[in-house]
Amino acid sequence: MRAAVSALVRKDLQAELRNLEAVPAMTLFTVSAFVLFHFGLDRETLQGDLASGVLWVTLLLAALLGMNRLFVTEREQGGFDAFLLAPVDRTAMFVAKALVLFGFLVVAEVVAVAAFALLLLGPGLGQALPELLLVLLLADAGLAVIGTLVGALAVQTRARDLIVPLIALPLSVPLLIAAAQASAPLLAEGGAGPLAGRWLAILALYDVVFGLLSYALFDYLLED
């Protein structure tokens, strides 16, 4: 299992490094979205729950781009068949793809959060950063898990690029609620407020529930 996961992850990273497709697209998308929000809201700076909402909606939409691309080469270039012919656990594909998407999200967010702090955020990010990091990582885990499942569901359909956002957006509402609510006090003017434990609990619960569920269901998406 571990060997298969590392083989898959390595192969995906090689392809991404060669093509620079998903991660640059996600990063550029977030920066463009911040510019749009600046004009759309007509604000110089944002803080508190407005800042949190803008940040999370942007990150969520950027994640859709990554979900959309995640399985395309597997389907179009026979990757599914080649993988299924190997004597490895099929769940390795799920684990590997979730790790890859998680990695893509983290890299894209390094740039996105920096750009957000620079372009839109009123209060400094300084002391709230560790807490924000925790929220980001928990939310990324959830996005990676459902993104992998939805990406795999959608890649075999005729309308992949329509199906991914249609399913992923409602499915990530609980994630958005928890992440946005948790980040709002961290981005508030006049010193960051405390981080509410219950939102972290919701994020963790979401990660665990959908992680286990996807783990159990993923095999059915591969067999034929």
């Binding site: 590392s6 060669r18 093509n19 080469t73 270039q77 026979g78 080649a82 034929d224």
Partner: protein, 255 residues
């Protein structure tokens, strides 16, 4: 015509960096590599394969002939464990599909229409990936590239290679783990005579593996086979030893 016998340890061991074949001794299988009985497969209501029965002894070659849409590729994909049978019995390398699929996977090699390689990765990266999936040493991947004469272009992305070259890399991939059963869908498509001779030790009879071979070149198919299966309208219309079949009989399947 070549008369094939079971593989001798000699022919098996003649390849460089040989991977030991996984133990295939399962009680009750004798030496049949493929055993089908009443095999059927449908897509929805459309039946694409019906009532196929045959027994292919280990080390022999089965040629599958038939017009487009006769079910050849479906049969190959069922044998490769990629499609589950909907009816009948399919026993491959002693394992009954689909339940024993996990035991059979990794002991068979599929050379399909598509090369099953990533176009953005180089030939070497592609083979290294498959070597990791199959638990084969990386050196073996390089040896395979050497064997198909692709060492010099091994570090170029696959999309820059010609179709014939990609086919050679695909052959290196399909035989990477020294499979006991080779499933070949027109393996010599896009290959020039020189390349065809080059891959002969890997996918030819000399390789020693049991082979299921789809070929539209009837003469060549008959020459390579021990057993011929003719599919017509998703049914087995012809099943005979290759020596008893005339090219004319096979040609009739396409009409």
């Amino acid at each position: 015509m070549m008369q094939g016998g079971p593989p001798t340890p000699d022919t098996v061991g003649s390849r460089s960096l040989e991977v030991p074949r996984a133990g295939s001794a399962t009680p009750g299988t004798d030496s049949a590599a493929v055993e089908l009985d009443g095999l059927g497969r449908a897509y929805g209501e459309r039946v694409v394969l019906r009532d196929v029965a045959l027994r292919l002894p280990a080390g022999q070659t089965l040629a599958v002939c038939g017009a487009n849409g006769a079910g050849k590729t479906t049969l190959l994909r069922v044998l490769a464990t990629l499609l589950r049978p909907h009816a009948g019995v399919a026993r491959v390398l002693g394992g009954e599909l689909p339940d024993d699929g996990w035991r059979v996977r990794g002991r068979l090699g599929l050379l399909a229409h598509e090369p099953l390689l990533y176009r953005d990765l180089t030939a070497r990266e592609n083979l290294a990936y498959h070597a990791r999936l199959h638990g084969v040493a990386a050196a073996r991947a390089d040896a395979q590239l050497e064997a198909v004469g692709m060492s010099l272009r091994a570090d170029e992305p696959l999309r820059t290679l010609s179709r014939g070259m990609a086919q050679r890399v695909a052959i290196a991939r399909a035989t990477l783990h020294a499979p006991e059963l080779l499933l070949l869908d027109e393996p010599r498509a896009n290959l020039d005579p020189a390349a065809s001779a080059l891959v002969e030790p890997l996918i030819g009879r000399a390789g020693g593996a049991t082979r299921v071979l789809i070929s539209h070149d009837v003469e060549q198919g008959l020459a390579e086979a021990d057993l011929v299966l003719g599919l017509q309208g998703s049914r087995a219309a012809l099943l005979a030893a290759a020596g008893e079949v005339e090219a004319r009989d096979v040609g009739a399947l396409y009409r």
